[in-house]
Every structure is written in C-alpha cells, then in structure tokens.
C-alpha cells in the first residue's frame, strides 16, 4: 500500500519474515509471542517486556486505539512490536489516541502485516531467540551491526522507579519493591485497602524494614532473575527477618522467581515462555483451576524446591511447571502468573484478598 515501507524481522538463526515497517524505527531484542486477543496496550506498557520484541498472535491490532487508563507503566519498554494488521483508525469511546501514533510517540519499532502465526510457530519450535527489525533494503553491515547489539541485562534498573513514592490508603502499610511493576498490581493492592510505599529495586532490606511495613510486596519485572544477585541478597535478608517479625510477603512473577532463588531454589529459562491471557493454573490446595494472565520466560525448578521449607501451591495445567508456592512456616507466598490481569482474566483476585486477610486479620495457613 502507498506509504508503507517494506520491512522484515530477521531471527538469529537467519529466518526472515516480511512485513511493513512503521516510522523506519529499527530494533534488536529477544523475540517472544503473546497469544492474548485483547490488551495490546497493556502488553506494550508492561515493563516485564523490557528488551523484548513482542509478537502478537492475534492478527487485528489497534482496533480500539489507546487510552491513558490502560497504561501499565509510565512508558513502554518493549524493544519492538510485531503484528498482523495495524488498525489506523480505532473505534472506541475510551480511545484517546491511535495505536500508530502511540508507537511513534513512544519510539517503538513496529513491523506490521506480518504472518505472526509463522513467527510464533518458529519460536515455538526453535525457542525464544534474538531478532532484529529492519527495512527490507537494509544492507548486510547494518543487519550485522543490529544483530550484534547485545541483549541488555540491567533491565530491572532500567524499569524500576528512580524515587520512592507513596500511594495513600486507609489500611495496612505495604512496602512494594518495584522491579518493573505493572500499574494494575498497584491498583489491586490499593483496592484491598493498602497504603503503599513504592520503592526502587535497589532499596536495601534494612531500608525496607526500617519503614516498619505491615507487609512486603515483590513485584513483577523483566529479565533473568539471576541477573540481579543483589536483589536476591536483599530478599534473603527480608526472609531471615521474617522469622522474627512474621510479615506477610507476597511475590508476583519476577518477585516469585527472586523469592525462590533467595530461598535456595533454582530457576531456568523456558523454551518459549508463557505469554497470554489463557493459561490454566491449578490450585493444588483447592483442586480448582483458574485461567490466568501470564508473561514469563523463566520458571522455578520444582525439583530444586525439594528439601526447602516450600510447598508448591499452583501448577500450570498445560506443562506442569510451578506457578505458585508458599513457605511452610512463614507467611510468604508467591505466584508466577499475574492475578492483577490487565490484560487478561481476573479469576485470581483471591490472591490479593488473601494478602489483605493476612495483613488485616492475621490469616496464616
């Protein structure tokens, strides 16, 4: 079509998929896919996708534009966006901006008109890998250069807030460690009545404890949990202190992985991760299954939990991977998935309600 610039995504193994490139923004990143059918804005602004090129399997994107209230972070941290059809004129009463304008304004490289199913099938069979978005006529040197750009490891530092701040609330005071937190986790904690102090990822355990919070929250975030050993050390201290102060600690996603590493368990990289709004999670305590929103490329190794004072509470129905755990003695629990949804189903709000009961009613298992 007129005005469309041909572009392509080249994967590390040389596979090429074609499309059109928006604004001629180029990208290097880890190519992943998300199977959610709605929520492109929430996905784009979820800091956990920092450094990644996100492929959406649903082919019609941008239909309802962009609205401020769906932002999950102050900005988008994705490195690139690969989609099928890019809707230029969205239609929704909530819409404030077109997706294309948002992508431009946020400087997000986007390849559209792509056979995203083909990309997904490739990633599914070959595993997550590095890829670049370039114009179709990019020369060899440019391709080489982009492909050589290393995938950044300091991602948590990049996405966490620089300064602590408070979100007022009537209820218990929760110290929230922001490793790249999604807006709706803060919203969910607020909705259960918490007063929140949101802290940069680098905040030390002593600083956290000095605030005398009623509970601690470990957020989601991007990257390999093993890339942030100093945070793991901090969490170790928080756990140690918990033996005395018995504070409820709740972790989600990266928070869950960091917690497990701090407890001495291990994490590993999944072949292509879990990203979507339809992942079934079985609660082993109740025998029930809930549908969850997920976005993670790493998982906790269930065998590594053997011998630790931890109990697996949730597993993924599809592949049996660990989706949740709790401490056998301390009020510490975490889940790999996203009970705050946004995007995705809100079947798992009960995990926040449990946190509220732990904070206010002294609930313990």
């Amino acid at each position: 079509m007129k005005g469309n610039i041909s572009g392509k995504i080249i994967l590390q193994d040389g596979t090429v998929f074609h499309g059109h490139i928006l604004n001629n923004f180029k990208a290097t990143g880890e190519v992943v896919f998300n199977t959610g059918m709605t929520g492109y804005q929430e996905i784009l602004t979820d800091p956990s996708y920092c450094n990644q090129i996100v492929t959406l399997t649903y082919p019609l994107i941008g239909n309802y534009g962009i609205a401020k209230r769906f932002m999950q972070s102050r900005k988008s941290f994705v490195n690139g966006f690969i989609i099928g059809e890019l809707c230029r004129e969205g239609s929704s009463c909530h819409m404030m901006d077109e997706l294309a304008d948002f992508l431009k304004e946020q400087g997000i490289p986007c390849l559209y008109d792509v056979d995203t199913r083909a990309v997904t099938r490739k990633i599914r069979s070959a595993g997550t890998m590095k890829g670049i978005i370039v114009p179709a006529d990019a020369d060899e040197a440019e391709i080489k250069e982009l492909m050589a750009v290393p995938i950044e490891k300091e991602v948590v530092a990049k996405v966490t807030i620089p300064e602590a701040y408070e979100i007022p609330g009537e209820g218990p005071h929760v110290a929230v460690l922001d490793f790249g937190i999604k807006q709706n986790i803060l919203g969910s904690l607020s909705r259960i009545g918490c007063r929140l102090t949101v802290l940069p990822a680098s905040t030390t355990a002593d600083e956290v404890l000095a605030m005398k919070p009623d509970g601690i929250f470990l957020s989601n975030g991007p990257g390999d949990p093993k890339d942030v050993p100093e945070i793991i050390e901090n969490i170790k201290k928080l756990i140690a202190a918990d033996k005395e102060n018995n504070l409820p600690i709740f972790g989600i996603c990266l928070g869950h992985q960091l917690l497990s590493l701090a407890l001495g368990a291990d994490t590993y990289k999944l072949k292509f991760g879990h990203r979507g709004s339809n992942q079934p999670v079985k609660n082993l305590l109740t025998g029930k299954v809930q549908i969850s929103s997920q976005n993670h490329g790493y998982a906790v190794d269930d065998k590594s939990l053997d011998g630790l004072p931890m109990e697996v509470t949730h597993i993924n129905v599809n592949d049996g991977t660990v989706e949740g755990m709790r401490h056998k003695e301390l009020p510490i629990y975490s889940v790999q998935y996203h009970p705050e949804a946004s995007p995705g189903p809100d079947d798992n709000v009960y995990l926040f309600e449990q946190f509220r009961d732990m904070l206010t009613k002294g609930y313990r298992w």
Binding site: M1, F17, H18, F33, T35, G36, M37, T38, G39, Q41, E42, T57, Y58, P59, L60, N63, Y64, A67, F70, G84, E85, C87, E89, G90, S91, S92, C93, H94, D113, D115, T116, R117, A118, T120, R121, R124, S125, G276, S277, N278, Q279, P280, K282, G287, K288, V289, Q290, I291, V317, N318, A341, S342, P343, G344, P345, D346, D347
Partner: protein, 1075 residues
C-alpha cells in the same frame, strides 16, 4: 468409564426437526455427545424424531429411537430402557423443555433416572423470567428494567411507566418466537398477544429496549468442581435489536478493550457459577458503546447455536466436553482433543477472525417481511475464517449461495441517494449490501452511516475498505499490485473479473503468475502456542507460510452442501459425512470442504482434512491445487456441489461418479427429453419457452392447469400451478425473468399420486433400496409431502413399471452412484417428473429404514467398485414389514406473512419420521413428531375451493361420523348438506359477519381444512384463515389428501394404544459398524 461409576446407561435427547431457530447444530452437538459417552463405555440410548441426522445412525448410539419428542413417548422409552442418566442439554431448547417436563411429571424420579449436566434449578433460573431477574439481582448483574406479564393491560401499564421502545420476549421459547420490539401501544398489544400464545407458560417479559448498543456473547463452560472457562466471545456486527441468529457475528470481539472483554467475561463466569450449570452455557450482553455500562440480556443454560459456532470458530469441542462433564469429569481431567497434549481446561486463543453470516429463506419466501428483529428468521448460517475481517466477511458472503459474490446486489445500482438513505434505516437482510452500495458510490461517509445504523465504525470502515478497492479496480489498470490489494481485501477472482470486465480465468492466470496464492493455516485452539493434531484449515492471503501437511496417499475431496436452507437441509450433510466415512473405510484420504458451522461434516475429527472454505469454483480449485487429489466427489453435497461440477471439470479436475455431461443430460430440459425418448419413458407434456408469447402458446397446446417454473431450480423455487392464461401472464411477469438464457418450463399438471425413488447404479446394475409414496397428490412439492415407505396404494404393475423406468434411466444416464427420481402415477400409468443425478433429501430416511448404506455403496461405486462386487443385485430391495412415514416440518410461526398453503414451492424447513408396524400409528407418530396438533374431538372448519367440493363432502361426512362438529362457509356448508349433515355456517372473512378469524381466535375451532381457491376475495380470505391457524397453534390442512390421512389416524386412535416404541435396531436389526 465415567467418573460417576454408577452410570451404565444414558439417554440423550435430540432436538427434533430442523426449524428456524433450531437447525443442524444439534445434530453436531448430539452426535459428538453420543460418541463421547460411548468412548466411556456407556450404553447410549438416543431419541430424536429427525431421521436426516447422523446422530440417529445406529452406530452412534446403542439404541436409537426415531420417535416423536413428547413426554409420553419419552416416558415409554425410559420405562423400557431404564437409563440411569438423562442428558438433555445437547438437544437444544426442545430437549431441555422435555427434560423439564419429564422431571415435573415425576418420570425421572419414578424410573430413577438422574438428570445429568445442568440441574433443573439452573434451567429454571435461566429460563423463568422472574427467577432469572431475581438471580441476576442477587448477583448484582444489571438487567434492563423489565416486568413479567401475563396479560396485555399489565404490559401497557409498565410500558407507560418506563417508556418506549419496549422489547417483548415470551418465556420458554427458542429463536425468539413471538417476540418483537414495540414503539407504541398498538404494536405492544399485538406482540404481547402473540407472545403469550407462544410461551409454554403463558408469560412474556417486557423490558426497556437497548437497541443500538453493542451485542456481545460469551460461551462459558463449568464443571462439577466449579472450574469455569470461557471458550469464546463474539461480537454482533448488528447492534442490539436484531436476534443474534439473524446477526452477522464476528469472533472474537473486535471493538472491545481488554477491560470490557474481561468485565463481560467475569460476569459470564459469575452467572454460570450462580446458576450452577454443569456443561456449556451462553450469555448475551448489551454493552453501551459510550461507556462501560452493560446489561445481561439472556442466558441459555445449554449448548446452543452459538456454542456450535464457538466450537467451530475455536476448534474447542464444546458438546463433547459438556458430555464428559455431565458424567462427572472435570475440565482438567479431559484431554484437549486438538492438541492431545494440553487439557480441556484452558481458554482458546484465536489467531484469525471468524465471521458468521445468517442464511435467510427470503429467496423462497419472497413476499415475507424481510425485517429483522427479535424473532429469528434465518434457516441456517455460514461461517468463514481469515486473518482479516474483510477476507472473512467476503468469504461468508460468497458462501451464502444467494447469487452474490461480494457486497453488491445488482438491483441497487438503480437506486438514488434518497432510496439508499431510506433503505439504510431499514434493518433487513440487505442492509449490509446497502451500506456497501453507499460507500461504493461515495455518497455517504462512515460517520453518516454509523449515525443511521449504529453499526460500529470499525466494521463500517472495513466495508468501505473493500468498496474503495473495488473502485480502484474500476478506475485503474489491473497491475499485480492492485490485484494483490484486491485479494488482500478478500475479493474473489470472480468479483475482480466482473469489475475489471475480464474473464475469471484471466484473473486466475494473472494471479497465479504473480504468485498471489492463498496460504492455508490451521485452527488449533491455541494460536500456535502448542503443536496441534487437528487437520482443520482455512485459507488466507495474509500470510507467507502455508502449514498444511499434505500427503502422497490416495485422496479425494468431498464437497459439502453449505448452509441449511429450504430445499437443502441437514440431509446433505448426512450424505457428505457418510461419503467421507466410506472413503476412509476404503483407505482413501477424505478431504472435506464446507462452510456450515452447524454440521457434523465440519467437525474436525470426521475427515482426514477439513477445509473451512466457501464452496465456489475458485476456493475449491485453490484447495485442489494445494492437495492435488485424485478427484472430487460432488453427488453428496446437494445442488451446491453439483453446480460446481462443470467448472471443476473444465479446470481439469476429475469428477468421480456420474459424469458432468450426464448430469447435464438429466438437468437440461431438452437433453433430458432426448433421454426420455431414447428410453421410451413418458412424462407430462411440456415445453421450454423463452418468451411470454411462447409460454401462452405452449400452455394452450398442453392444456391447463400447467406447472410453470424456471429451469435449473432447487427445491421448486418460483414453481407454480396456473389454471388459466391470466394466471400464467401474472406468473411470467412476476415470478421469473424469461430470457433465451433462462428459459421457463411449462408442463401439463397431472393430478396423480407422486412416487419417489432413490437408487444406486454402477452403470450396469441398478439397486433400488426403496420406493416412497407421497400422501399429497402431485402439485405439492415432494419435500413438503408426507412420504410413506413402502407404498400403500400402488399396484404391482405400477411398482414394476417404476423399477423398470428407474433402471432404464440409470443405465441411459450412465449413473455412477446415486440418483433420485420423482414419478407421478395417473390411472395406473407412470410418468416421470424429474431426475436428480445425485443424493437426495430422502437418502438418510431410506438408508435408515432399509438398512442399505446407500451413501457408502454409492461412494464405492463412484470410486469404481461395482455393485455386484459389493454383493448387491439389480432391482428393488425387498420391502420391509414395517411402515416408515416421513413428514415435513414448517417454521411458519417464525415467518409471518408467509402463506402456509402447500404447493409446488417448497416451504418446509425440516422433517420427522414415524415408524411402526401399523401404518396408521407410523402416520400418527410422524404427524405428532411434526408438531401437528391433532384434536380428538371438537370442531372442524372446512372451507375449500369449488374444484374440491365433491371430494370434501365425503371427507366431511367421515369426520362427522367419528364425532366432529363441522363449521363451514355458506357454499361449503350447502355441499355438506347434500350428505344429510348440518354444518354450522360461518361468514367469510371479508364479509365480517360471524367471522371465521374470530372463531379461530376464540379457540372455537380445533382443526381447519382449507384448500387454495382462486379469486381475489377468497384467496385473501384463505390466506388470513391459514395465518390465523398458525398464530393460534391450530392444525391447518391445505391438502385433502393430508386430511384423509388425519382421519385414518383419528380412526386408529380410537381403537389402539398410541404410545408404543421400538428402537430402530429392533426394526431393521443390528447396528452397522461404519464408525
């Protein structure tokens, strides 16, 4: 083994005949459920009155009862079979209503039969308006302000409180029968009166109308452990106000934010939990386009039409999983049949766009009111899949088989802007075409049309993007780039050819040379996240990777029959499925192409590969290019598939079975005349005419009455009997456009007994599994006649002549497979009416009652096996000792303004079967199953045409003799008087004195016998009487032949036990082992 280990035997209730609002989707659901139950080692008892279904095959259930779906018959079967479980949530509203009745009558308790799946209370909470309202209020789910009323006055009072427009919905009906939207008191009164009549419990709900809001649906599943998932959500392109069955629907929703999507998803889960449903459920919402406000409109506590659509749209087998849940499994214990790795407890992710388009019967009911509202009018639907909405929409349009291939209807070309503007405000089957016409001409912008139609701008822009490309095609040379753009928006080669004034072949050549080819993608429930085993594909031009794994094995394509419509129902899907099974049995890979989401043939585990695609030459040829099959089988997909034979052969595709040339010899009037001359078989005198004058001349020569119709028809479209030149003139001007290319056939109308034969031939031998005699004399379309097997009145001479003629025709036409012949017998002479060189609508019926696997045998013949090698001898298969009666079923209650009088135009939407050792009881079962309300005593209104008066006198006396009172118009009463009987005289409708209509309305008439009379007044009177019987649920017999058979039943009823059942297996012996 079921999780509920005490279950040994389960009864499944089917949904009965195809009617508007309840189509083939329940054959699909029921068959899937039966198979799922059998898989668990359960003994399955199936009851359904509809013989044209896969589910009533003897290999689907251990005990198959083709019996009327009434509580009495079901009780009889339960008493006999003693199932300890009853599964009723897969038989549509009909099945569910029966389950409620059986429970309330204490039948289930008496025979210790557990209602499986959704508990009775859940059904009541969802269906009883008051309980539903209470339940929703308890949950805090918003529902529009409403009131339940049982009389008109309360309805009017409530409307005055909340204001118009008001929606009226009767309680306990399906397809919105008797509902509507009222803008004022007069309309409200009208609709409420009707609604009260149709409601099983005499209640209607009246509520605030949210017309214009977005209509959104969710399909939800819940198991006994309270696990809940949503399978799919769907957005109606048509805003609230049009019944969802009449709406263009897209899946998943396109204009909902994640927040809105999840808000309604959560509501659906809260609702299914609160209702305690175990299995599938459907929830419908109205969503305010200007806020996040929503209302719950409706909840169906069962597998529904939308569930079938959601199943096909996602690949998730809702019916199968529902059945497993009913016997105690939880979602996380059931394997996802698609991936065979993951579990059924997940939510499907789509990576394509699905469009459902309704198929309306307005091509048959030209004079019916085309307005779409709360009462469903579509008989069927098509579904299409693509990576773009435009592509899916246009695929759907060309799947409809309504003579259009894009959003363009020729006759709109003459409309001026004022006309278009007016038409845009009318909500009917043509609206989307009018919208496209407005865009095409550039006379309206998206905003304007949105203002008028309230259709979301997203959809409107998509339609516009199609017409924009059409305009480019018109203005610019067809470069490869432009061609690519045209394919990108989904335009068919044929449409591109039409606009650019080139031939389809030229376009196809250019396209292939430019490498613009479709890719085939898989429907896998998981957006490619997991490897899937389903061989279920769709095409798209929006892709660079084709993922079909074709094989080098022997393979054959079977063409399906497209949407359910009058004249082409579920029977043809039955045939396609059996053909696929036969091929697989022969070790040949069977590939099916079809576009109907309601069918068994589009279930992903029926064929080796399923292509969910339009049935047009281009779409089929693209698949042929991809698959390179040995050939294509067209004879089982009804006229849809037959119509493609010539173009496929022209493109070099081998057509198995009867050759394209021989098909033409049977279908082309003049060539068929030659066949008859060669075989020396008589037919009613006739002629093919190409001008109006020729028609007059021919009729004068042949003599009136004449049967007139256009050539190449399906289901007797635009066929009429004319009694004089005036009527012929009227017909030629109104019903057809006669041109040299489209001749009109004028035949002598012979009033005799109609006989129908289905036969299989291999060119050498001709096997005739059975002969059926029609109750109604020739002149009533064969699809609307009651058919009886074996014939009851034919002489041996006639039967032998029929066998002889059948053989001669089959051999002369070199039939390789099935053929269907209709004869008329006059004074023991046999004449031929028509030959269809393909499977017919009676094939499933005949296969079932004769136990000849007709489609299997015919498929083998088409593939080259002789009849002899299959163990068949030429000739008529011995008649069975029982009688089977096939009766038509109509959907007149849904189609106001349609004349119910039987004639040469087919009007029925479905059929039922009655089988018994007594002819009269078989007849009774068929009539009962067809929903005919036969009174045992009371008052019969007789008003017949003059030509029928002699015969009517005998009939009247016979009814009088068994105790009926007679009411007649003056002339008829006088005639009856000559028999020494007094009939009460009633004034004609237009005379307004002691009006017939009044008597019907007051419930003083229990049965009406009315034959079509000529003349303006009486024709109009007759129409009003007949419609009144429909609105008031009274049987109306428009053929004296039917009346005689009703009399036979009534006489029998006095002496015999009526409710008596045997399984099909008991009649025909043994099940087959096809599956």
């Amino acid at each position: 083994m079921p999780k509920k280990e005490y279950l040994k035997k389960v009864m499944v209730i089917g949904s009965g005949p195809i009617i508007i609002g309840q189509a083939a989707e329940f054959d699909y659901a029921g068959s899937q459920a039966c198979r799922a139950l059998k898989e668990e080692g359960l003994e399955v008892v199936l009851v359904n009155s509809n013989p044209a279904t896969i589910m009533t095959d003897t290999h689907i259930a251990d005990r198959v009862y083709i019996e009327p779906l009434t509580p009495e018959f079901l009780e009889e079967i339960i008493a006999k079979e003693r199932p300890n479980g009853l599964l009723a949530t897969l038989g549509g509203q009909a099945g569910l209503n029966l389950a409620v009745q059986l429970a309330e009558r204490g039948v289930l308790e008496k025979y210790e039969c557990e209602l499986l799946g959704t508990p009775l209370m859940a059904v009541k909470k969802a269906e009883d308006r008051e309980l539903f309202k209470e339940t929703m209020q308890k949950l805090g789910e918003p529902i529009p302000e409403s009131a339940i009323v049982e009389d008109v006055a309360s309805a009017v009072n409530f409307a005055n409180e909340i204001g118009y427009p008001i929606i009226v919905r009767p309680a306990y009906t399906m397809g919105g029968t008797g509902g509507g939207i009222a803008d004022n008191e007069e309309e409200l009164t009208d609709i409420v009166i009707k609604g009260l009549k149709y409601s099983m419990i005499g209640q209607v709900l009246i509520e605030r109308s949210v017309a214009g809001w977005k209509e959104i649906e969710y399909e939800v599943m819940r198991d006994g452990n309270d696990n809940c998932i949503t399978i799919c959500n769907m957005e109606n392109l048509d805003p609230v106000g049009v019944h969802t069955g009449d709406s263009i629907v897209v899946a998943p929703s396109q204009t909902l934010t994640d927040s809105e999507y999840q808000m309604l998803r959560s509501a659906s889960i809260r609702i299914i939990r609160e209702l305690g449903i175990e299995g599938g459920c459907n929830a419908q919402y109205a969503l305010d386009p200007n806020s996040e406000r929503y209302y719950v409109i409706e909840v169906n506590p069962r597998v529904s039409r939308s569930s079938a659509l959601a199943s096909k749209a996602t690949g998730y087998p809702i019916a199968k999983v529902s059945a497993k849940i009913a016997i105690g499994y939880t979602l996380d214990e059931i394997t996802n049949a698609v991936t065979q790795k993951t579990k059924a407890c997940f939510e499907p992710a789509l990576d394509y766009c699905v469009v459902k388009f309704p198929r309306w019967p307005f091509d048959k009911f030209v004079y019916a009111d085309h307005t779409l509202g709360t009462q469903m009018k579509a008989t069927g639907e098509v579904m299409s899949i693509d990576r773009s909405f435009e592509g899916a929409l246009l695929k759907a349009v060309r799947s409809l088989e309504i003579g259009v291939h894009r959003l363009q209807m020729d006759f709109m070309a003459d409309w001026d802007w004022e006309t278009i503007k007016t038409r845009l405000t009318q909500i009917n089957d043509e609206r989307i075409f009018v919208i496209a016409e407005a865009f095409r001409r550039g006379i309206a912008c998206v905003d304007e049309i949105h203002k008028i139609t309230k259709i979301d701008k997203w959809f409107l822009r998509k339609i516009k993007s199609i017409t924009d490309v059409e305009n480019l095609l018109e203005q610019m040379p067809l470069t490869d780039d432009l061609l690519r753009r045209a394919k990108d928006v989904g335009l068919a080669d044929r449409s591109i050819a039409e606009i650019t004034e080139k031939s389809v072949n030229e376009i196809r050549q250019q396209r292939k040379a430019a490498g613009i080819l479709p890719c085939y993608k898989m429907v896998d429930t998981c957006a490619a996240e997991f490897e899937a085993a389903t061989p279920y594909y769709y095409s798209t031009f929006h892709a660079e990777e084709d993922e079909v794994q074709t094989s080098d094995a022997r393979k054959v394509i079977v063409l399906g029959s497209g949407p359910i419509r009058i004249g082409q129902g579920v029977e043809f899907d039955y045939c396609s499925v059996h053909s696929v099974w036969a091929l697989r049995e022969m070790g040949i890979e069977a590939i099916i192409i079809n576009n109907n989401p309601e069918t068994v043939s589009t279930d992903f585990d029926i064929s080796d590969r399923l292509y969910f695609e339009p049935l047009t030459a281009e779409d089929v040829l693209n698949i042929v290019d991809k698959e390179k099959p040995e050939g294509v089988i067209v004879q089982f997909g009804g006229q849809t598939a037959i119509n493609l034979a010539a173009s496929l052969e022209a493109a070099g595709v081998k057509v198995f079975g009867t050759s394209v040339d021989d098909i033409d010899r049977a279908e082309d009037r003049e060539r068929f005349d030659e066949v008859l001359t060669e075989t020396n078989i008589p037919r009613p005198q006739g002629a093919s005419v190409t001008t109006v004058q020729e028609a007059f001349d021919a009729a004068a020569r042949i003599g009136y009455p004449c049967m007139v119709r256009p050539s190449y028809v399906l289901g007797g479209r635009a066929m009429e009997i004319v009694y004089n030149e005036a009527e012929l003139k009227d017909y030629m001007g109104r019903a057809v456009k006669v041109t040299p290319d489209h001749p009109v056939l004028v035949d002598r109308y012979m009033e005799g007994t109609e006989v129908e034969v289905d036969a299989i031939s291999d060119g050498v031998d001709v096997v005739i599994p059975g002969i059926m005699e029609h109750v109604e004399r020739a002149g009533v379309h064969s699809g609307d006649s009651i058919a009886v097997y074996p014939p009851q009145t034919l002489s041996s001479k006639v039967i032998f002549t029929i066998i002889d003629y059948t053989k001669r025709l089959a051999i002369n036409l070199h039939v390789k497979g099935l053929l269907n012949i209709q004869f008329v017998v006059v004074n023991d002479e046999v004449y031929i009416i028509e030959v269809n060189p393909r499977s017919s609508r009676t094939v499933p019926f005949l296969s079932k009652i004769t136990d000849v696997k007709m489609v299997n045998v015919a498929t083998r013949v088409a593939m080259g096996e002789s009849l002899a090698s299959q163990g068949y001898k030429s000739g008529l298969v011995d008649f069975r000792p029982y009688v089977a009666v096939k009766a038509p079923v109509f959907s007149f209650a849904k189609m106001t303004d349609v004349d119910i009088a039987l004639g040469p135009e087919m009007k029925s939407t479905g059929e039922v079967m009655g089988i018994d050792y007594h002819y009269a009881r078989a007849l009774y079962k068929a009539m009962l199953g067809a929903g005919m309300n036969i009174p045992v005593h009371g008052c019969i209104l007789i008003t017949v045409a003059d030509k029928d008066k002699e015969e009517m006198k005998q009939l009247a006396k016979a009814f009088y003799d068994i105790g009926f009172n007679l009411v007649a118009t003056e002339g008829t009463a006088k005639a009856i008087g000559t028999m020494g009987i007094n009939a009460q005289i009633v004034g004609k409708v237009h005379q307004r004195s002691a009006d017939i209509i009044q008597m019907i309305k007051q419930g003083r008439i229990n049965l009406v016998i009315n034959t079509l009379s000529q003349g303006k007044h009486s024709a109009n009177d007759g129409f009003k009487i007949r419609r009144a019987t429909v609105e008031h649920g009274i049987a109306c017999l428009t053929s004296l032949d039917t009346a005689w058979e009703v009399l036979r039943v009534l006489t029998f009823m006095r002496e015999r036990r009526l409710v008596y059942s045997l399984a099909v297996q008991d009649y025909v012996g043994g099940g087959d082992d096809l599956a």
